[in-house]
Point group: C2
Chain length 364, copies 2
């Protein structure tokens, strides 16, 4: 099928670019002996997770137990759930999963450890644990190396848990490379203290899981890192362009939309809004705009309703007509894919493959 | 099942409040002889659409042809698609639908009319048309009464189309009632001119479709209005509280979440972020916050990641513990429901019913 035959809005992925992006980071990880464990919350598509593994990823990361189940059912058997599991129902699901899957979970509280331990003991399975530390984002993670040690000791005495190491998420480092290097200093200092504290306590750390798409190619400069969990690198997005992580040529994913109205002066209305793109804001600079119009960078994607995208074309020389199609690179690829039941892989203008977003709507 | 047994995050609807909200507006419409045609994009749930019809709605409104199909398959046979249909694939779907359904479509371009006419002629069906006019939101709609007449004349000569009347969306009137009355003046002036222009041309207008949830109880003051298309009124949300349209007691829908981390000082992390709530901003006042924590209005829902809700509890006296549950009224109920595959109707703490969001992910 030619892409012109796709009904819009439709998410399309340029397969050449995506494969190049996957290969490039896998090559970097191989060269620097850092394991690659892609965060598949970005796409929630088992076929893409398997492709990432085929290119050299060691296993995958997910955010939710229900996402892990989708991936396990597709045959993936080494899964890190990078999210604190505290509810009983989820701990039971996790224990079920651990019967035939290598499962690791990050946590930052005794409550989470106890809940998982109880469920794992009931099923007589073992669950790997990473203690999450806060290296600067201030979202989850214990605040100090000493707190990490205290929690690790508690994990070590919980039945059916295997303490495997430390996890952090450097989400505050979404910036150009030079700025990343400045922010890396305090992270390395913190982690060095963690290593010292654990060494003095004679508690071995097997895994140090970090990384993100913006910092992926800086991984070799993080002290002690054994694996990274980037999500967006197969696709990139407008936020990654805004943070000067990549150029537009590396963006593999865009949303195909149709112009549905041109009656308002200086405006063009597209058939995709917050239910197509998500309403995630642009994280760089002025924070304006909901996407980049590939055919017309002078158009500003200034607002959206649920099903309407509002382009301001006041600064554009382009003539727009109702019925024509445009491609828009979204602000945030993870939340955009999450709005769709299916996305399409294209090459040379042809739809080569379509993938069901099997983890779509999996929130528990 | 007790709501404590629901895994989180989960959308719950207080059935007593929802039924009261539905009855109240249905009563107003009956009293003022305005037809009620609820916009079901809010919930995308056929069972709720049918309940709205049972309470007195004349038919329903949807945003997409694929949503219309979901509703038709559930037995609803009078559907307004309040969205310009310009692509061939959609026009063909629309014509299929029109074989056994009363279908009306709004449009503001000749291109849309031609596309629908062609598909309707092929199937030998008729499609009702409302010409959309812009009364102030500047999104879709022709700019002047004369343009409306010009387009209506073109619709009248297209095969298999029935010109039925005028549609507008007063989306710029989301404000407290007193401010709505100020904004109503220019809208009525514009519509009076529309009626004059059409009367002089001897073109009858059968339907004048307007309305929205914020303006629903002002409907009788809109000149010439025959029907309204409110979406959110069964549930309301934080934006409706912010616009002083309702008080918190009228909000029927909330998201049940679990506290998953409390390690960062002054912060509490919930197991719902942009993939649970959507990232729609608060439209009132300062624009801050992603929801209202029912148990603790002093907590500010200040930020979100995809699966993490970040509460700032610096101003709160409440003690939070990992594992406890909270209820959060979202900023925008339409985009929140849209993130879920299923939502739950509760009464007296019991889950009385669960509905599949059958139109979930229907974007074409």
């Amino acid at each position: 099928m030619h892409i012109d035959e796709l009904d819009t809005p439709a998410v399309i992925v340029d397969l050449d670019i995506m494969e190049r992006n996957m290969q490039r980071l896998a090559g970097y990880c191989r060269d620097h002996s850092v394991a690659l464990r892609p965060h598949t919350k970005t796409h929630k598509i088992p076929e893409l997770a398997k492709l990432q593994i085929q290119y050299g990823a060691r296993g995958i990361t997910v955010a939710k137990v229900s996402e892990a189940r989708v991936m396990r059912n597709a045959g993936i058997d080494d899964i890190l759930i990078a999210y604190p599991i505290v509810a009983e129902a989820k701990a039971r699901e996790l224990a079920l999963l651990a019967r035939d899957t290598t499962v690791t979970v990050s946590l930052d509280s005794l409550e989470a450890a106890q809940s998982i331990s109880l469920a794992a003991a009931e099923r007589a399975v073992r669950v790997g644990i990473l203690v999450e530390v806060d290296v600067g984002l201030h979202r989850c993670g214990v605040a100090s190396p000493e707190d990490a040690l205290t929690l690790a000791r508690k994990v070590l005495v919980q039945p059916n848990l295997d303490f495997r190491g430390i996890m952090f998420y450097p989400g505050h480092m979404m910036a150009p490379l030079a700025r990343q290097r400045e922010l890396l200093g305090p992270v390395n200092q913190f982690m060095d203290e963690v290593y010292d504290v654990f060494a003095r306590a004679s508690i071995p750390i097997q895994v140090v899981s970090g990384g993100s798409t913006p910092t992926a190619f800086l991984s070799a400069e993080f002290h002690g890192l054994t694996e990274i969990r980037p999500g967006m690198y197969p696709f990139y997005d407008r936020n990654m362009i805004g943070a000067e992580v990549v150029a537009v040529e590396s963006c593999a994913l865009s949303v195909l939309v149709t112009v549905v109205s041109t009656t308002v002066n200086g405006r063009v209305i597209l058939d995709g809004g917050s239910k197509t793109f998500s309403s995630d804001r642009f994280l760089a600079g002025h924070g304006r705009g909901f996407g980049l119009v590939v055919q017309d960078p002078a158009a500003e994607f200034e607002a959206m309703s649920e099903e309407h995208g509002h382009l301001s074309v006041a600064a554009s020389q382009r003539a727009y007509r109702v019925g024509e199609r445009l491609r828009v690179i979204p602000n945030h690829v993870c939340t955009t894919i999450n709005m769709h039941e299916r996305i399409h892989g294209v090459r040379s203008g042809q739809v080569e493959t379509s993938w069901a977003v099997a983890g779509h709507g999996k929130l528990q």
